[in-house]
């Protein structure tokens, strides 16, 4: 599988990751190399084989829906890069008309 710099750009956008021109070139080369190795999986016949997402066989572990203590506001905000009163500050999301 050949990964182009355009592919890298598209994937970087999906991953919300800004990349430099140098990174685009490097990632294109390295991802091509790694995916070429991954392509060796094609030799294994997996017709009718169920995919494995997890190995314990557990599904839908439920607990009682009870009220319990959660992280206090001060603790939750202690690592905030920027805060105002009881909230996180972020750039304006809704655009003006």
């Amino acid at each position: 599988m050949e990964i182009t710099q355009q592919d890298v750009e598209k994937v970087a956008q999906l991953a919300r990751l800004a990349v430099t021109a140098v990174e685009k070139e490097t990632f294109a080369k390295q991802l091509t190399q790694i995916l070429t190795h991954v392509d060796t999986l094609k030799q294994y016949d997996t017709t009718g084989i169920e995919p494995t997402a997890t190995v314990t066989g557990q599904v839908n572990v439920f607990r009682e829906d009870l009220k319990r203590l959660s992280l206090p506001v001060e603790k939750a905000l202690a690592n905030a890069p920027e805060r105002e009163s009881d909230g996180f500050v972020v750039p304006k999301i809704i655009e003006e008309r």
Binding site: D7, Q30, I49, T52, T56, P91, I93
Partner: protein, 488 residues
């Protein structure tokens, strides 16, 4: 004899008997750290002041009533991707450089309830992605046996700290070999428990279907002792399994391996294996036979697929897990961004290092529309085949023995420019994570250049007891674990 020469079980006995105080222990270890840490660079954060305070507190309390837990007063190090309340947990990333978690990981609260003493947080490859600690944003740790060599990774700081006697034992995490490979490279013991045996709550997630926390120690009894303290069900981790935890120390009492069938997979002894490693592992298998085990040749035909499967599944899960680092609620935030999208994109560009970015890119790619079935779906299906290989093998044998790594520790910089070569160095440990099985790495010899070589024993799911018993029987009949690096 200096205190830091004692292993965990021995130190616990001495402390419980009142022959040594917690303050003496802490003093001995921080003296040792002051002597060797500038060479080894095992720690991201040292918690000296808190350790002394806690030790004094313990000594005062124990004067009145000498009641101790198994880990009371024991100086442990914790890998820096395991949350410790109020103590920085950086994942060796710029992204979390100033992050102090508001809560403890479950393993840490268990240690805390036993009054352990935290010595410090150990270095790792950024977000546990790597095999050498060279991907740490704060610089690599060194192998105590040869400071020009890597300690392995990603739990390289923990393994190096144990080998250099900077802590009595440590916790690591293992997603594709990140406990066992550094343990093998540093000549210490490392256990990756069965998936679900130990709670992952508070372990900063890399690949959630593969990650497990486990002990890194100087010998097998120490590993059993520490595993006992952290194993068991946790309601905060819905993937942890509600099954009784056996008495691991009791399991060690049986010293022979009669009626134990041990499989040797032919696929692990091929051209990629360094002859020096094979020359150490073959006699170790002979030793297991001497101890009464029945040795059988087995096949794990899909071994070759493991690395490719792993680098699809682990990166896919990582790309999703690391989406939370967006600069909004905690961690690093890029300055002067004009809108929310730019805040995300620049924060992640400036906060993550090259290997983390590479894996996020790869994981995003294999999950993206049009490639999902061809890569992610295919890898999940081949993962089933890898599991089936182990299931079939464990019908005929009780344990599997392999080399832990294809080569001894490599030199710093030797593989850092070639990601695929670095990935392939995990070839013997990765399939164990895909199948969720328990495995242990322990010393079985040295290379001509004096670097440790590790043996790996793989058990059936939740049969850590038999695995530890066999490892202990082997350890008792050899002296490899008693050799120490010369760090002057």
């Amino acid at each position: 004899m200096s205190l830091q020469k004692l292993g965990l079980v021995e130190l616990h006995k001495k402390f419980t008997a009142g022959e040594v105080t917690a303050t003496e222990i802490v003093r001995a270890y921080f003296l040792r750290i002051s002597q060797v840490e500038s060479k080894v660079k095992a720690f991201v954060t040292q918690t000296e002041e808190a350790a002394y305070q806690q030790a004094e507190c313990l000594d005062q309390k124990l004067k009145v009533w000498r009641k101790t837990h198994p880990l009371t007063g024991m100086p442990l190090a914790v890998k820096d991707n395991i949350c410790t309340e109020g103590v920085p947990t950086t994942c060796s990333s710029r992204m979390l450089q100033n992050f102090a978690p508001p809560y403890d990981a479950t393993v840490v609260s268990r240690l805390r309830s036993q009054e352990y003493i935290l010595v410090g947080k150990t270095n790792l490859d950024e977000f546990a992605m790597g095999s050498s600690t060279e991907n740490s944003a704060f610089g690599p740790s060194r192998n105590p046996w040869n400071l020009h060599c890597v300690p392995g990774g990603s739990s390289g700081g923990s393994a190096a700290a144990v080998a250099a006697e900077e802590c009595v034992a440590a916790l690591g995490s293992d997603t594709g070999g990140s406990i066992r490979q550094p343990a093998a490279f540093c000549g210490v013991v490392g256990v990756k428990p069965t998936y679900g045996r130990v709670s992952r709550y508070g372990l900063v997630a890399f690949a959630s279907s593969l990650d497990q926390i486990g002990p890194i120690t100087r010998n097998v009894p120490d590993a059993a002792f520490l595993l006992q303290a952290i194993a068991g069900h946790d309601p905060m981790d819905s993937t942890s399994v509600d099954r009784p935890v056996p008495d691991y120390m009791k399991a060690l009492q049986k010293r022979d391996l009669k009626n134990v069938r041990v499989g040797v997979p032919v696929e692990f002894f091929t051209e990629g294996l360094d002859p020096e490693v094979e020359q150490a592992v073959r006699p170790a298998i002979g030793e297991l036979k001497q101890l009464g085990a029945e040795i059988k040749e087995i096949r794990l035909p899909r071994t070759d697929a493991a690395v490719a499967v792993y680098y699809v599944i682990a990166t896919a899960e990582a790309s999703s897990n690391l989406a939370r680092f967006d600069g909004v609620r905690f961690g690093f935030r890029a300055k002067e961004t004009k809108d929310l999208l730019e805040l995300y994109m620049k924060t992640r560009q400036e906060g993550f290092g090259p290997e983390v970015k590479r894996r996020i890119m790869l994981g995003t790619y294999v999950l993206s529309a049009g490639y999902y079935d061809a890569y992610y779906g295919k890898a999940q299906a081949v993962r089933t085949l890898v599991c089936q290989d182990f299931d079939a093998a464990f019908k005929d044998v009780d344990l599997i023995v392999t080399p832990a790594t294809p080569t001894p520790a490599f030199k710093l910089g030797e593989k850092s420019e070639d990601p695929l070569q670095m990935y392939l160095s995990d070839i013997f440990t990765i399939s164990v994570n895909l199948a969720g099985l328990p495995a242990i790495a322990l010393p079985c010899g040295f290379s001509g250049a004096g670097l440790p070589i590790g043996l790996q024993l793989i058990g059936r799911a939740f049969e850590e007891d038999l695995m530890l018993r066999a490892a202990h029987a082997y350890e008792q009949s050899t002296a490899w674990h008693r050799q120490k690096p010369n760090l002057r």
